[in-house]
Amino acid sequence: MNLRSTATAIGRRAWHVLAALAVTLMTGCGNMMGDVDGNWQMPIQASKEAADIDWVYYFIFWICLFYFVHIMGAMGWFMWRYRRIPGKEVEESPHHSLSLEIAWSIPPILLCVVMFYLGFDYYMQMSIPPADAIKIEVQAEKWSWKFRYHNGAESDELHIPKDKPVVFLLTSRDVLHAFYLPKMRVKKDIVPGRTTKAWTTANRAGDYTLFCAEYCGRSHSMMRAPVTVHETEAGWLAAIRPGRASPEKLFRMNCSSCHSIDTPEILTGPSLKGIGMSKRQVAAGGGAPTKEVLADRAYLKESILRPGALLSRMGKDFKDEMNKTFAKQLKPEQIESLVDYLLDPKKAMEKFEAELKKAEKK
């Protein structure tokens, strides 16, 4: 039948195009099934799973490309071959064919089964972390990350060793977030009120970025954290050695998402630049105008422990958005240290370093 012969002719043509494309891509972009150094579709592969996932991705990609090329090829060919020519009548041709319908339904069914199965198989492997994996607690909140290691150390930077499976226990203090390491191909939503898990085995030392991938408000796009994969376990342990966090680090980890300390810029909260012993305007309540208070030790402590008791009017009418007290989250000495820091950042850091030296001597 005519229909069939044209179909095979098109098929042959499509194969040629496809083969040519495949060769170009193979030579032009390295490996056809993904590349450790990344290529035009995927970023570098920095975990053991990444190579597998890219393999599945490229498997699907080539199938899609095959479909795209032969369908568009046929369409383009018909558009040109059967363009309207004045005076030329439409040729007779059938307008239904059960065998054709079956012929073009079966391959997609089979391919779908294969794609589904591959995705499922690798997903299962990604879902079950090995029992001996290193555990790191990850706490997300608007808009910062906090990591707690097995030795009690806390940090706003993520450190993991190379070639060791690591499980991340994910919790959120407020809304939905998502833990996303693109170069490790790991992503998991973080749901308030639950602990979700993600895991990976990083296999490439270096610096990466952790992203929040679930929309969470104003600074969602700034909710990133630096990630370091350490070549050796010793290097990793050195990086997460517990110790007292410096006041600067405490501020960065807990406060800097809403307050700037070295510029007058107003973020969610007022700038705290030079706040120590300065005069602050706060809401007086009952529709009265603002009143002035002195930002002494007591006031600063109150602001951290009972936010909202006095609402700042520094440059803007702030709402009570610092709505969670830090009493549970920070230890009393950490709060003292922060208050010192707000009173005078430079002196507080000097004091901290002096104490550190004294402790090291002992």
Binding site: W40, Q41, D52, I53, Y57, I60, C64, F68, I71, M75, F78, M79, Y82, R84, I85, V90, E92, S93, H95, H96, S97, L100, E101, W104, P108, C112, V113, M115, F116, L118, G119, F120, Y122, Y123, M126, D174, V175, L176, Y180, P182, R185, K187, K188, D189, V191, P192, G193, R194, T209, F211, C212, A213, E214, Y215, G217, R218, S219, H220, S221, M222
Partner: protein, 553 residues
């Protein structure tokens, strides 16, 4: 005689005698006038939401924060863009605007089954639209169009309840339209119009109507639960009260996934008409196209969980949803093959509607194929919530439905307005839209698979180049649409008068006068095969096609 067309005469509600003037439109129960009003309303929403998109795409030219657009503004803009596009334009766009105008005429009926309900549904739409836009702009809603809890229900954002109520009212407008179409198609077919003589656009609207009627009530339940939580403090979605935020996602997608197909299925219908008419060839595999629309409509109810593969939903549930999702691929593939096969041995001409139909095939094929790595569990984990998903659904929604709708708009424009649009300008704008669209969204696939998360106000500088290309593309796309709006408006006064059948189509709407008689037909048309073009010949005098059989008789 010309004075009997629907622009000069109409039936008003409560038997009012008013033929022209603004009130005769606002109170009309003529499906054609209601369709036009729906079109004006939904299309304005489209232009507005498009303008928002251009605004935030301009911000994305720079990776770093900019002083002239705050992150909050950016977040509100993409929320407005998404919510208006989806709820005010895409869902009602084709059924309520084009469908309302065309469906009864295609069937050979005088009107829809319940004309007054039809008008009521339009007013519900207006009410719902006002409510949701007010909720977003006054309530400063910045949650994205998905309104995920608990972010969307945090203290200050009471707006979400209003928004959800607005969407629910919009949903009712859409249920009424759906119900109306179902009854119309079942009951008002004239003698001779058997099920398998229904044009495929009608089949598409039929499948859509089923989904509208069945899915929308879930939205009502969601609103009710949100209200119960807010007013009575019962924990349903809010973890602080012991609720579960993931439950909200289930509810949301249980409605919104069928909604996605509510958006696209009528587009399938339009494209089936266009490809057949402009190839002058009987549509290939009529019953396969018709039934695959119905199959897609039914399957749409059991795949919602594919939006939640990384949400913490159990592995078993993910597996089931992944498998079910793949099943949608088969009817979709069948459709695409049948459309391409229709071109075979045709006599293909490239007027604007056909350019859009062919664009649709190209873009929808990409949109459909890129669904595979998203349906596949292992790869979706990486791609979820990145620009890959953004690109995928724009290829399906905009490249699929909106492009099909532009095609339909140009195709029925002469029938609706009595004027031809300027063909050359139409082709130019179709070309710009196609090129601009691909530049805008194809780059988004690449940055997405590289790991660029969506809904980011500022981003790593490695992606700046992609964003700049994408934004440039969006300007070309915007220009294409601007040109279209201008020449369509121009043609209302200055376009050439349209013949009854400018395209040589065989469906019934082309057998009545242009613009149609206010009761659709003066004489009952004879019903035949909607894709049999053999009796039609071109008449250079009227610049239209005439039925040689009818003139002989």
């Amino acid at each position: 005689m010309a004075e009997n067309d629907y622009l000069h005469r109409t039936h008003c509600i409560f038997g009012w005698k008013k033929e022209t003037g603004i009130l005769s439109w606002l109170l009309t129960i003529d499906h054609k006038r209601i369709g036009i009003m729906y079109f004006l309303a939904t299309f304005s929403s489209f232009l507005l939401a498009g303008a928002f998109a251009l605004a935030f795409r301009t911000k994305l030219l720079w990776a770093e924060p900019v002083t002239w657009m705050e992150p909050d503004t950016y977040n509100r803009l993409f929320t407005l863009h998404g919510a208006i596009m989806v709820f005010l334009f895409i869902i009602p766009g084709v059924p309520a605007a084009l469908g309302n105008f065309v469906l009864p005429i295609m069937l050979g009926a005088k009107d829809v089954a319940f004309p007054r309900l039809n008008l009521f549904s339009f007013y519900l739409w207006l009410m719902g639209a006002a409510m949701s836009v007010a909720a977003i702009s006054l309530g400063g809603l910045d949650t994205g169009w998905t309104f995920y809890t608990p972010y969307s229900t945090e203290g200050i954002r009471a707006g979400v309840v209003w928004m959800a109520s607005g969407v629910f009212i919009l949903g009712f407008a859409s249920i009424f339209t759906g119900l109306n179409f179902l009854v119309t198609i079942h009951k008002l077919r004239p003698p001779g119009m058997t099920w398998f003589r229904l044009p495929l656009f009608v089949w598409g609207l039929y499948a859509t109507a089923i989904m509208q009627v069945l899915a929308t009530p879930v939205l009502g339940i969601t609103v009710a639960l949100l209200l119960v939580e807010r007013i009575m403090g019962v924990g349903i979605f809010n973890p602080e009260l012991g609720g579960d935020p993931v439950l909200f996602q289930h509810f949301f997608w249980f409605y919104s996934h069928p909604a996605v197909y509510i958006m696209i299925v009528p587009g399938f219908g339009i494209v089936s008409e266009l490809i057949s008419v402009f190839s002058r060839k009987h549509i290939f595999g009529y019953s396969f196209i018709a039934f695959s629309s119905v199959a897609i409509a039914l399957l749409s109810f059991i795949v919602w969980g594919h939006h939640m593969f990384t949400s913490g939903q159990s592995v078993l549930v993910n597996t089931i949803f992944s498998a079910l999702t793949f099943s949608v691929a088969i009817p979709t593939a069948v459709k695409v093959y049948n459309w391409v096969a229709t071109l075979y041995k045709g006599s293909i001409s490239f007027e604007t509607p056909m350019l859009y139909a062919l664009s649709f095939l190209f873009l929808f094929t990409i949109g459909g194929l890129t669904g595979f790595p998203l349906a596949t569990l292992a790869t979706d984990v990486h791609l979820h919530d990145t620009y890959f998903v953004v690109a995928h659904f724009h290829y399906v929604m905009m490249g699929g439905l909106v492009i099909a709708m532009f095609g339909g708009l140009h195709y029925w424009w002469p029938k609706m307005t009595g004027r031809m649009y300027p063909e050359r300008w139409g082709q130019l704008s179709a070309f710009l839209v196609f090129v601009g669209f691909n530049i805008t969204f194809f780059t988004q696939f690449l940055m997405g698979s590289q790991g660029m998360p969506r809904r980011y106000y500022s981003y790593s500088s490695e992606f700046e180049i992609y964003h700049r290309i994408s934004t440039s593309g969006s300007y070309i796309l915007g220009l294409g649409i601007l040109i279209m709006v201008i020449y369509l408006l121009w043609s209302l006064k200055n376009g050439e008068p349209a013949p009854d059948n400018p395209w040589g189509a065989a469906t019934l709407e082309w057998k009545t006068t242009t613009p149609p008689h206010f009761e659709n037909f003066e004489t009952t048309p004879t019903v035949g095969d909607p894709y049999d073009f053999s009796d039609l010949t071109y008449d250079p005098q009227t610049r239209g096609w005439v039925d040689t059989n009818a003139s002989k008789a």
